[in-house]
Amino acid sequence: MKRSLVFLFTLFLVISLFSVAGAQDVNNPDTMVEVNMGTINSLDPHFQYDTASAEVVDNVYENLIMFDKGDINTFLPLLATEVPTKENNLIRDNGTTYEFPIREGVTFQNGNPLTPEDVKYSFLRALIQDRDGGPVWMIYEPLFQKGSLGGVVKEVLGEEKNPKDLTAAESEEVYAYLEKAIEVTDNSVIFHLPKAYPPFLSIIVKGNGLGAILDKEWTIAQGGWDGQADSIAKYTNPTKEEDPLFSTMNGTGPYQLVEWVNGEEIVMSRNDNYWREPASIKKVIIKLVNEWSTRKLMLQRGDADIVYVDKQYLSQVENMDGVKVITGLPNIYMGVGLMNYNIVTEGNPDVHSGKLDGNGIPGNFFSDIDVRKGFLYSMNYDAFVNDVLEGDGQQGKGPIPEPLMGYQPDSMTYNFDLDKAKEHFEKAFGGELWDKGFELTILYNTGNDVRKSAADMIKYYVEQINPKFKINVRGIQWASYLDKLIAHKFTLGFIAWGADYADPHNFVVPFVSSDGTYGGFKGEDYAKFAQKNVDPLIEKGISSTDPAEREDIYRQIQKQAYDNATDIYLYQPTAQVIMRDWVKGWYYDPIRDPGQYFYDLSK
């Protein structure tokens, strides 16, 4: 019995040896295999709001315009035949009218022709669907100066109302209001903005799913918005499973969806009657593998052409033969230590005593600028960039990252200086803090090593300044972390923001505006400060159409952030891409990263 077991075993091993040899030589030039992490959230361009999904959408659906090979300052026409500019007068009425002549002879993958009506339908569908946590807020701002369909509803009906509860009549009113913004002439689509909004083009550009153009007929057939005015309630804010386009696609793009095995892989094949030259790669497979060692071996054995590699594992792929490692790509992304000016102390263990008695911190701990500066000077930025990020990044210069308008390589930043930190801590709370000391807990969401390292660093250095200073670092599940953030209970927390579109507005609002995605969580005192000093600047910045003027305004905002030490602008990472050296035609697009546009690639 045992002998036969052993025999079986050796047999298997022999077999495996063979099949390894067999597996090696299989990787054909017509197929591109990319291995990523994470999961694809949804294939509905107006629903998805994560890089993994965006990549797929980006290869199947198309927008009106696109960037010139990742150059975020030059646009090229795509489904539009011309990029609107002041010069060609397609941007008119000092920046409140945008006209897009629609390309003819373009067909969707199901054969239907593209019409201006499809374009209008697509945008309205996005506006109506506007799911919570979705991307659509980005165009509500330019088109209606609102943040969401809810805002529009309030505007129109004059009262708060959940769009899901709209009656047919109300729905028609709201719809009329929405529809005014988008006008179709015989062969072009015109957008009417209430006021000038410079980033508009950067928002609807290719790479941003919410500008993707759907086939009206097909979408309705799938059970999507029926194009009627009275049906907003039925189609707005669907859950993922209610969304008919969750797992099916039909775009004008170079690739079409073949199969999506959620959490495992997605397969796309070349669209042979694409309106441009068909792509050179016949088949694209995007595999999602969270286990790094697996991704690594697929790269090593050439099973994968492009592989996602976390920074910390770069050392494992450098000088792997047949593999190209490209690092230092500017990532429009900002990692920030958020300080809560007014911490809710009730039932909040992280502030310990909740008083300025040496055994905790008062709720308004961080509204003292000297405390904030103390912390800012206690952060070892160089060590963080060099060790934790392994050199792939730079210290943040303020809310606005490189290369966006307002970023200056030479602008003032805080540096690691414990003496300065000491000075400020001594001044804080009129010296009381220095005498009494404090204890607080910094949270991070478990699994995020970079954030933990940042927290550990602060603990390590601040505690050196004064033995009475005590910092605990505690990891909590993402669920509780979210809870803390929303409930204004976090003390100092590290979060990050990646670009939705290439404009400083996309960074200053979330970080420093009084009601920004993160700014809004920084407490009363901050809100007051921001309403007075920041919000007006932001307002000016977004309504001006003169680049020079905007540049200047955003520099002021950067300075505000520096002078008032509003947050710890810790790092702007650089991206890296790892691929087999037989991959050709690759270029970097900071907005789409880490996704690829396979149309331009070949093997």
Partner: protein
């Protein structure tokens, strides 16, 4: 068989002796941890000090004789203090869950009827959820941390003891001496304790010693899956999870980071091995079938 006799045999038996020696070694490690590996921050000695901020593990060197894991956690320190963690988890979890199981099992068997039925159905329910899954859920809900891990483990590990105890008691219950005691009108508690538990405890003890190992393994598994001990906490399972992304080494040297896996791996395996060796010998000594 008497305790002294059992212990004597345990010492005589080479296998269990080996087990006992290993455990003694770990005990020493645990007791003298503060001297073997002095903590940097006395308030939280279980947090492994970081030897720098880089992510890549560092090979064994003079100041880090076992090297460091991902994010520079000193492996030696982690092993030493991890021993304490292991003992804490093992003893507390097994202790509490076993006593809980003993009580429930005894009650069920002694009173029988609907009480028995009810308790056994509840046991069934708890047993129908895969142990590891149940604990993952509970820890995720309670939040990371050794205490919560222990709570979760206890909540879902008392059933086997309860069942074992029940069957034991059922068999003893009919014995003359118990019947006699009942006839003499001794009160239930006294009967249960003096006459039943003391006469049925051995198999439970065997099971307990076997579970010492498996509980520590499960706890480590939770850490390994990222829901157990918080990052940087001295816990063997977590140190292994740190190794997870490095086991394939670097180009041309697949074993480059061997120490991140092998060293904690040996620690945890030896620990469990020792308990199982003892439990094994224990069983042979006490199993009437085998004598």
């Amino acid at each position: 068989m008497e305790w002294q006799e059992v212990l004597k045999r345990l010492i005589q038996n080479k296998i269990s002796l080996l087990g006992i020696l290993i455990i003694l070694f770990f005990v020493i490690l645990a007791v003298f941890a503060p001297f073997i590996a002095p903590p940097r921050d006395a308030d939280e000695p279980y947090m492994i000090p970081r030897a720098g901020w880089t992510i890549e593990p560092q090979a064994p060197s003079n100041e880090h004789i076992f090297g460091t894991t991902e994010s520079q956690y000193d492996i030696f320190y982690g092993i030493v203090w991890g021993t304490r963690t292991a003992f804490r988890i093992g003893l507390i979890v097994v202790g509490i869950s076993s006593s809980f199981g003993i009580i429930l099992g005894t009650i069920a068997a002694y009173y029988g009827g609907w009480i028995d039925e009810l308790l056994m159905r509840i046991t069934d329910i708890f047993m129908s959820i895969p142990f590891i899954i149940a604990t993952i859920v509970l820890v995720t809900i309670l939040g990371q941390g050794i205490t919560n891990v222990m709570i979760a483990l206890i909540t879902f590990s008392w059933m086997s003891t309860a069942r074992l105890m029940r069957s034991q008691v059922l068999s003893v219950k009919e014995d003359e001496f118990v019947q006699a005691a009942i006839a003499l009108g001794a009160n239930d508690f006294r009967i249960i304790f003096r006459h039943i538990i003391l006469n049925t405890i051995f198999p439970v003890v065997i099971q307990a010693s076997m579970r010492m190992g498996s509980m520590v393994i499960t706890a480590s598994t939770l850490s390994f899956l990222g829901v157990g001990a918080p990052e940087g906490y001295a816990d063997w399972g977590q140190m292994i999870s740190f190794a997870r992304n490095w086991i394939l080494g670097i180009e041309g040297d697949p074993l480059h980071y061997w120490y991140t896996l092998v060293i904690p791996g040996i620690a945890i395996t030896l620990f469990c091995l020792s308990w199982n060796l003892i439990g094994d010998a224990f069983r042979d000594i006490l199993d009437p079938k085998l004598n």
